[in-house]
Subunit: 392 residues, 2 copies
Amino acid sequence: MNFKNTYKNFIIINPLMRGGIVPEEVQKELYDEKWMNEGYNVCHNCLEGRSGLVTKPPVKEFLEEIAHFYGGDYAEHTFGCRGAQFAVMKTVSELVKEEKYCNVVIADPNSHYSTNIAAEMCDLKVTEPPHSGYPEYKVDAESFAAKIEEIKKDKGKLPALVVVTHADPYYGNIAPVNEVGKICEDYEVPYMVNAAYTAGVKPINMKEMRANFLTVSAHKSMASLAPLGFLVTTYEWKKSAFITSSQKPDWSGRVFGKKIPNIFGCSIGGIPLISSMLTFDYVKERVKNWDNELKKINDFVDFMEDLGSGEIMLLGETPHRHHLLHFETPLFWEMSQKHKKKGFFLADEMKKRGITGIQKGLTKHIKLSVYGLKDKEIEMVKDAFYEISKNK
Amino acid sequence: MNFKNTYKNFIIINPLMRGGIVPEEVQKELYDEKWMNEGYNVCHNCLEGRSGLVTKPPVKEFLEEIAHFYGGDYAEHTFGCRGAQFAVMKTVSELVKEEKYCNVVIADPNSHYSTNIAAEMCDLKVTEPPHSGYPEYKVDAESFAAKIEEIKKDKGKLPALVVVTHADPYYGNIAPVNEVGKICEDYEVPYMVNAAYTAGVKPINMKEMRANFLTVSAHKSMASLAPLGFLVTTYEWKKSAFITSSQKPDWSGRVFGKKIPNIFGCSIGGIPLISSMLTFDYVKERVKNWDNELKKINDFVDFMEDLGSGEIMLLGETPHRHHLLHFETPLFWEMSQKHKKKGFFLADEMKKRGITGIQKGLTKHIKLSVYGLKDKEIEMVKDAFYEISKNK
């Protein structure tokens, strides 16, 4: 296998990646301290058989801090945010088996695919309230209440779960999580907020959202290596979400009493977990700077829209409340029609300028983020778009 | 969070870790090439929406090579070997729903806990044939046939799966995987071999085993960072094991046609996957050296048993065919009774000598491995045991 990192010194504007960039000093620490020497770097002092209970390095304390930081009571680390969402779906699917709820999950129509896949893995059907369509694509809290009523009427039972994607992966809209939380509380429907794109970049308090479950992606928004996520929950839900193993094979009679099946017994951790522990102080600090980041983000939107003179337009909410930006860009589409590389010209021109992250082949619509870039880097991104649009 | 790697320059003899030590030059490459810059390091050129289909870096080709290397037809990477086992259990649990098999899994009584947890996650019950007990703890192929017959009689249906742990995590015995494979083929029962402790250290051919599924741990036995595993399967089983998403939420009508629910849609990869790609050539070479390793391992057993003069004895098979060594050590237990640190004295004495990996608190039984250590390092381990046993 012979390959190198093509994007080693690139400016990254892929919105999936910006919240996950690992600070250089942490990369150095991971290398210098030889945390990459073995996969089981968390396990040298494991006495109880589960990474979340390890105190050297301080995983247990870290998980307590994670729970507190997000306004929850208890947290476990998982194989990515998708692992956390799976654990939630598994938890509520047990309630479906007990016939407390029907096997339906209400999720916003802008959910990340991992939400839908997690439901599919647990034999739960996803139903969606509508969004407002072009150009804002917003979801409305009241439509969740209507959907709950509809299901209650159709199925004779409440849905097993309501999921709201805090910032959605299509338009970067911030959903009305507090209002939906109030509705779920009134109906007594379990409520999960998928904060994969927000937890670690902006302040989050799941209690204010009235969320029972908060799912988090460390590699998406907490400046950490992949794969790593967290499931944060409340005292009330902790017991069922993190229920320990009860199976006992018949001949050996072995029990695995510390293992949590919903997170595969133990979610190991490895270097992604170490990286998250090392960047946590940095993450805690940076969320305080969110308003400044938002200003930079919206200034960038203004720049792009000015540059386009009507041929570049932000989709989703304005002013934008998240760093994921989705532009409609007829300007670039028209240019691509005349270009020998067709739709690939834009990503290609950006690459020539040391910038990566525009989906290859796309020019009608582009998604990008300048979150956490230095002013100088943002200027370079602006210059690139300027030059390309002026065909220089 | 303020913590350092306590075991930075230690000799590691933890049998869980020895097959997963990452070569120093790969650690350096991971750092120098900035593969730790972002979690989504595999995703820059993702066009199809699943890491296994990415060609830059060559993940797709790598997975093809993995399948070939282990004698299978198709492979996907997973969140550890536990993720691979879960995918297998999910696959056969669909056949249980279709009433083709009953909801019972036969697994050897020395299985790793992750096998039992994966079954529990998929509502499958584990039943076990016996092992031979002290001091060898061996499993016998014929006992699997007897167990299949028993279940067929009791339940009126065949078990959904037979699992054999190739090298078990308790005694490091090599199970009769070929013989069990023959039995499963005769009964037409799906057959999984958990090669977490063998694939990547010794030559493996799942076709010779007649296995339908081979589960592999990259961080346990393929010199890679955690969490990473592989599920390798055959053309026959590929379609059901890696079936793509079919759910379609009602309002948006979105489909996620490239995503594989059994592996969470996409298993991301990240730095564990990059590390495995970078160490793969090294792993392919080292398995050729397995016979030499075995000789060193059995020489070490002789040394320990000589040192103990009847008070140190290897459990499991002799000569040993795997690097995981489990010694019964009344010698150390007697010493611990007189020591002020009690059972902790042994791990503590090893630590003083720069060696880690003996489970803290244990002296009656110890598990360790000298796999892949340089001769000089093995001498240091021997010296340590010698000095401790002589109370020097």
